[in-house]
């Protein structure tokens, strides 16, 4: 389980590298790079910092991963967030969460 950085989207702002609780990301040639993909905890802090959706989260095959990715977008309404699971054949599943609503369980 780790993250994948889309180099075409990454603008090299460094926000992901600054927030990573494991100091795992660095900016090389104006792009974010993960030093040790196997050292990612899966906290998704970097996804939440990225304003251009360049960071995608995935599960390693050793823990059941099937090649889908998870992305995160903070809403323009400053209140909702959108999580998107995209399967390898590009099927999307979207979950919208209201940040002002508590968990039910």
């Amino acid at each position: 389980m780790s993250i994948f950085i889309d180099r075409n989207k990454c603008v090299g702002c460094g926000k992901c590298a600054d927030v990573c609780p494991g100091n795992l990301l660095k900016i090389t040639d104006h792009k974010a790079v993960i030093r040790h993909p196997e050292d990612c905890w899966g906290c998704t802090s970097c996804l939440k910092e990225c304003k251009v959706e360049a960071v995608k989260f995935f599960l390693g095959a050793d823990i059941g991963g099937r090649g889908s990715t998870l992305t995160y977008t903070y809403g323009d309404d400053n209140r909702t967030v959108t999580w998107k699971v995209i399967s390898p054949d590009k099927v999307e599943r979207v979950i919208v969460i209201d940040t002002q609503e508590s968990n039910k369980y």
């Binding site: 780790s2 196997e38 906290c43 802090s45 823990i63 999580w83 968990n103």
Partner: protein
């Protein structure tokens, strides 16, 4: 290499839950004090709360009392807790929750405006952003300076008192020294000592933060601080593979623990935290695995809510459900025990502290997962301890000033501090000495090898997953021998950059913690908690061991074991443990 020297009235090491709350408290109450909070990553998302949390697990719900919370913790740990610490913590659980709500934390309320409880001790929240909320509050305190991306490795100490700390930047070539006589350690517990559930690509897909590597424990051990209950390891029962928390399904939707035959086994073994785990281990060992939390009774609406709940706390679990095409309604959730962690916020391992969270080292305080004696702290307990420690520090500084005993920092001490800092910087340099000629330098022992070797030793000889968490004295002897071997070859490691240096020091501190764990496991000659400390030489519980196993590292490196009687009531705050409760001292 750039050297930066800083001074402060209060130095907080670790910007997680407890450290941030202590900084916030000092910012609110003591604006005259200069506070520096040092964090090896960034306080915005560092520590246990990075991904979020979806319940406050320690709360005194309506109609219940703080003492009932204490009693629950005591029962769960079969007596080995500090009731004084638990009570001072429990008394603040609700007030710190209120502060967090005022700062912006969303808490579920009913139509009367009352918090909605989950069981007797939990309330439901949207805690995805709990850490950014707390970090923001710290940022707004003008007397608090935040230093992100600085890793502290060692305290500056002499004759049982602390004078500062030493570290380095994790991002650029810069060493740091701090001169400060009041230091709060809030570095969290220790993960990564044992071989993890997923030792391959997903080796860091663990429950406890893999970046909490026991730095504070190690610093305290090296400084000769008294430590307590390292033998009460914490092993969590978690969703298989993703190692995501289970409370949301166990308590949230009432899922029962079942085996492959569909039998509910949880009541068979008892419902303490360790017995729930032990039951699962036993069911597997006796051929009735795998084990599950049976969620198949839930509705489609509940399933949708669980997807959201996990995204707010452990997104990998939601991804796993959605990616596989089957959610918790369609299939029960398989569960497994994690590798053992040392964590004073869940079990009782950590610094031996007084009721104001003073350690046995003068000027050194501990709060949160690094402080021992008070299990089941969870988030609010860590906040409470941060507040208690901050108040004690402010009070101690005030009395020092009033008594004008500020002669501590004499010229002699200054010289000593400078010498310690120089020596430490030289040690950092020694690891970095080949950074500019990496091509020419061939190291046979690598950082990764060291980590794997340490985890293998702990797994096989000190009761890891592969041994069903069991160990005996002979195995513990071997564990010690191998960990000491690894300590001896540690200086062979080479760092090509500051990030490598960080990883080397993370291994160094874990090796120090491992030795303490081994010494404690060996000292408690009984099995009081299944799985957490299961000594096959002494498979039964003994009333003789209804006491604390404490330890102190002697200057020659040996670990002295100190057995102490239970502290059952609040003893006051003298903080110096010369009371007659010491039963026995011996070398581990």
């Amino acid at each position: 290499m750039k050297n930066t020297e800083l001074e402060a009235d209060v130095l907080i090491i670790g910007g997680g839950t407890a450290g941030c709350y202590a900084a916030y408290t000092l910012g609110q109450n003591n604006k005259d004090l200069k506070v520096i909070i040092v964090e090896k990553a960034n306080i915005k998302r560092s520590g246990c709360l990075a991904a979020g949390v979806n319940a406050i697990n320690a709360y005194i719900t309506k109609g219940r009392t703080a003492q009932q919370y204490v009693d629950y913790c005591k029962k769960d740990a079969d007596g080995i807790v500090r009731e004084d610490l638990l009570l001072s913590m429990s008394n603040r659980l609700n007030s710190v929750t209120k502060v967090m709500e005022d700062l912006g934390l969303v808490i579920l309320k009913d139509s009367n405006g009352e918090y909605v409880s989950r069981g007797n001790r939990n309330i439901k929240i949207n805690g995805e952003n709990i850490k950014p909320i707390l970090a923001d509050a710290v940022r707004q305190q003008p007397n608090v300076q935040i230093l992100n991306h600085v890793n502290i490795t060692d305290l500056i100490y002499r004759d049982g008192a602390v004078y500062g700390a030493v570290g380095f930047s994790t991002t650029c070539e810069e060493f740091f020294s701090f001169k400060c006589a009041n230091v709060l350690i809030a570095t969290g517990g220790a993960a990564g000592l044992y071989r993890p559930n997923n030792p391959g690509f997903s080796r860091h897909k663990m429950w406890y933060p893999p970046f909490n590597t026991g730095a504070g424990y190690a610093m305290g051990i090296l400084a000769g601080a008294e430590m307590t209950t390292f033998e009460m390891r914490f092993i969590a029962l978690r969703c298989k593979d993703t190692i995501a928390p289970t409370g949301t399904i166990a308590q949230g939707v009432g899922a029962k623990q079942t085996n492959s035959r569909g039998e509910v086994y949880e009541s068979k073994y008892g419902i303490t935290t360790s017995n729930r785990l032990y039951g699962t281990v036993t069911e597997n060992r006796e051929g009735r695995g795998p084990c599950y939390l049976d969620t198949t009774h839930i509705s489609s609406e509940q399933e949708e809510e669980l997807y959201k709940a996990y995204l707010n706390m452990a997104p990998s679990q939601t991804l796993k459900w959605l990616e596989s095409g089957t959610g918790p309604k369609g299939k029960p959730v398989e569960i497994e025990g994690t590798e053992p962690y040392i964590v004073g916020g869940h079990t009782a391992s950590g610094f031996w502290v007084d009721n104001d969270r003073r350690t046995t080292i003068k000027g050194l305080y501990a709060a949160g997962d690094v402080a021992g004696g008070a299990p089941q702290k969870y988030v609010t307990g860590a906040l409470a301890e941060g507040e208690i420690a901050a108040e004690a520090i402010a009070q101690d500084i005030d009395s020092k000033r009033r008594l004008e005993t500020k002669k501590d920092v004499t010229e002699n001490i200054d010289l000593f501090i400078r010498q310690t800092v120089t020596d430490k910087f030289r040690e950092y340099e020694s690891y970095l000495k080949n950074k500019d000629n990496v091509e020419d330098f061939v190291a046979t022992i690598t950082i990764d090898q060291m980590e794997t070797a340490m985890q293998k030793v702990m797994d096989e000889y000190a009761g890891g997953i592969s041994r069903n968490y069991q160990y005996n004295e002979t195995e513990l002897g071997l564990a010690r021998e191998h960990i000491e071997r690894l300590q001896r070859i540690l200086p062979q490691l080479r760092a090509v950059d500051m990030n490598d240096l960080l990883r080397i020091y993370e291994i160094r501190e874990r090796l120090i913690v491992c030795l303490n764990v081994i010494a404690h496991l060996k000292a408690r000659k009984e099995t009081r908690w299944h799985s957490f400390a299961e000594n096959t030489d002494y498979p039964d519980k003994s009333s003789k061991w209804l006491k604390y196993v404490n330890s102190r590292r002697l200057p020659d490196g040996e670990i002295e074991i100190i057995e102490r009687n239970l502290v059952e009531h609040i003893k006051g705050t003298d903080g110096h443990y010369t009371d007659p409760s010491i039963l026995a001292r011996y070398r581990a």
